[in-house]
Amino acid sequence: MKKIIPLVLIIIILSGCAAVSGTYSDSFFAMDTYMTVTVNGKNAEKAVKDAEAEIKKLDKKLSAHSGSSEIYRLNKNGSAKLSRESSELIKQALKFNRLTDGAFNPAMLGVSELWGFSDKKYKVPSDKELAEALKKVKPEIITVKNNTVNLNVKGMKIDLGGIAKGYTSEKIVKLLKKQGIDSALLNLGGNVQALGSKPDGSGWNIAIENPNKKSYLGQLAVKDKAVVTSGGYERYFKKNGKIYYHILNSKTGKPAESGLKSVTVISGSGTLADALSTSLFVMGEDKAVKFWAKSDMNFDIILYTTDGDLKISEGLADKFKSDINYSVIKRPDYE
């Protein structure tokens, strides 16, 4: 009997060692938000640590607010030679600016600063101030050559905040794939990107926050997709009884009041989902639906209007669950 005990112990210890494969999850603060990275598979812990390091590295390069970032340097000097990642992302941002006819605008930092959205000292600027600031918003004339970016307008300032998290999640997914990981979930402060499916083969369940924060708009199971929501409700201030949301319309320089409360974009590309969610929010329902219907890019949308209507695009019809009544937008209706 006494001989059995060490044997049993050895078996227990050995079986413990065999279990290197598993789930590892870690949360940390980066890009002004709270992030959680979950990885399933072999060497999950190392993969999560690598992802965290990469995110923090990108944060240092891409933040418009940190004095040591490349973007800060570019904004200060008007032109700069940047790393491959930064110039690549600027190119992408300018592409979405063109595609969305200006609804996505990475050159609005100067205007946003007038409202105090950068330093959180909120104020309502005068129309004259806004008009002055808008004169310097000309993303179409920014040039990018061999990683050298030239803003070409004195005082124009770019902010990649509307696309950086999506770009980062897309980049991390590529990094994880390279390490042989086929199941992971990145939650970069509410920008979510899934790699593969859960270990049991089912999709990742992603809930979409209701702007009233009392429930969810609904949930959907996704595999290999990024899900990004834009809505003013995440950052705003009140002055004299009026609420000012942080997503600005680049035509007026004022908070976009387009009749939408939130827009969610689901796509294989995190960059696309991030950029388009902001763009469609600025466009408003009609333009957003037309943009979706006519686009040859592969993505789906969920729109929630200020009137409380919930609409999803047809590609989500069999994946979306909600307690709220919703309607399905079909592409042929808009062709």
Binding site: V8, I11, I12, S15, A19
Partner: protein, 164 residues
């Protein structure tokens, strides 16, 4: 003494084989967590033919070995709490002079209750309680079947005992 140990060993081996059979050929009816628990035949039989100590020993060895071979630490904890709550209630029921089938049926129910309690503690989840009716009925039915199967075994073993 040696005879007792060899009896326990044979019974443990039998229990392991039955657990193994069940692990390889699960009698699944599509509800997770519901299984026949064939090795309980051995536990019930040991309780009647040997006694409490032997039944406890056989169960402990069986659960730990099966846990190591086929499961992980959580599944070992589930099995341990299920097996022992079931065993304790069976000992009480036997003292109350219930039949083998009655003892086994109630043992089956408490086996599942024990597992549920362990799961609730480990997952901090009260929602598991909604699973209770399914586990209760399945425990009763499988316990009944195990009792049915154990009755002739116990009778014949007693015959052998008195015969030898």
């Amino acid at each position: 003494m040696a005879k007792r140990i060899s009896k326990i060993a044979v019974f443990t081996a039998l229990a392991l084989i039955l657990s193994y059979i069940e692990a390889v050929l699960p009698f699944s009816i599509g509800i997770p967590g519901v299984k026949l628990g064939l090795s309980n035949i051995v536990t019930v039989t040991a309780l009647y033919c040997f006694g409490v100590k032997e039944a406890v020993g056989i169960t402990l060895i069986r659960v730990v070995i099966i846990g190591i071979l086929f499961g992980n630490i959580p599944s070992l904890i589930y099995s341990l709490s299920g097996a022992f709550l079931s065993l304790i209630t069976m000992i009480i029921c036997k003292k109350l002079k219930l039949s083998v089938i009655g003892v086994s049926a109630i043992g089956g129910v408490f086996h599942n209750i024990g597992q549920l309690i362990a799961a609730a503690f480990m997952l901090y989840s009260e929602a598991l309680i909604y699973y209770y009716p399914v586990l209760f009925i399945s425990g009763l039915v499988t316990g009944f079947l195990i009792g049915l199967a154990s009755t002739p075994v116990i009778k014949n073993l007693h015959k052998i005992k008195s015969g030898s």
